[in-house]
Symmetry: C2
Subunit: 240 residues, 2 copies
Amino acid sequence: MRRDIPKDAVPMLCASCEGRNKGICSTLDCHQLHELVRSSRKSAVEGGAALLGEAERIDRYANILSGVVKLTKTLSDGRQQIVGHQFAPDFLGRPFRAESQLNAEAATEVVLCSFPREAIERMMQESPELERRLYKQALDELDEARDWMVTLGRKTASEKIASLLLMFARHAEPSGKAGRNFARFDLPLTRADIADFLGLTIETVSRQLTRLRNDKIICIENNRLIIVPDLRRLNARAGN
Amino acid sequence: MRRDIPKDAVPMLCASCEGRNKGICSTLDCHQLHELVRSSRKSAVEGGAALLGEAERIDRYANILSGVVKLTKTLSDGRQQIVGHQFAPDFLGRPFRAESQLNAEAATEVVLCSFPREAIERMMQESPELERRLYKQALDELDEARDWMVTLGRKTASEKIASLLLMFARHAEPSGKAGRNFARFDLPLTRADIADFLGLTIETVSRQLTRLRNDKIICIENNRLIIVPDLRRLNARAGN
DNA sequence: CGCGGGTTTGAATCATGTCAAGTTAAGTGG
DNA sequence: CCACTTAACTTGACATGATTCAAACCCGCG
């Protein structure tokens, strides 16, 4: 390996990186970090870009440094369903499987730090902390997927919309106190995306959004910026 | 610890146990197995029994040795959704969280081998193989949950029913060649369970089942035993 | 100015839910 | 062995929420 960089310092690339602070890299020591950096690659992609296709070979995993990624699945006749969203500093990838079972697409502009599959898998062998960290993320994603199953299976259209807004309100809130009762955020999804996520049509999404607006639960500016004056009222609409 | 049992032998309890062969215990050596056995408890519960309540403290995890467990979530007004099923030799539990976010209920008679939470968590620290095994199960469950999200969000009632039957056909097939094109199995769920899983009503479930029967895709005997003469035709109905 | 993507709105249709009877099958007790 | 009960399931008629199809709108951009 290389000698010229002090082993006890964090690589420059990582010093100010969110992945390093909160993501999976927080489990790595300086040595491991240096090793990973050697094969890692930082990249930015614009919204709408495909990151990974269904049944495609996976050769790189990545950390999401900023932006929102949507995970989708498609039926043979074209019906589509979003099965999850990932935010910084999530890890993007499905260890132990060579082929992807879903599509990953940038919903907004996304910045990634990617590394070869083998690098992560080797490091996972060496570092139980890393593996545990990944395990925990998988469990969290599982909890989340199951929550959405309830929403998809049992909620009405307007409850679905309210639930979605609530999720983004929680994620967008710039780690402001959790107790906050109002929210203001950019919806990173088109109506079509929302429909795909909630198992609805764009028309129904549109109708329910205007209903929420008429009832003064939300304000919509520029079709994208959402303002929720009273999160409790929105929560009530979400059926929880 | 005890001395009279040779450390290099598999504990009697485990010798013929499915968990030992295919479950998480397959990652443990004899020593670890002996340690776990000391605090483990084998139990059988009849169908319908609650294994774990929402927001309940978790103090024991378990291996499922036989039977089917259903995992459910409930909205405040009583609407219910099944969010997953577990079969032998799955591990039942949610590490790293003291409170359950879901209900677990025996769908059929179920035999469990349970152990204290701490025992597993300690052993997870010691054995990366065990942790990896659990991680893999979590990833599989995540894949499955996402598959069902597509079904819940985008499929019609009859496609949902067909998908469910297909899942049970796959799980029930006693590891007969995967290439098998017909199946015969006991439906371990009531119509109400099916409805709760697919986000439908029992009436719709009943109607779609009779439709499948009229179309000769399935035969139903005793309201419980399902025979599928041609899995490909069923698969076509499932919208894949 | 007009063009196109994303969005909203309206009216008609359809799938699924709701409500209400029946049916079947499995006890249970006389 | 025969009521009687009960739970699970089926079937029918009707109501309704969501989709479909069609049209209009809005707004940034060439």
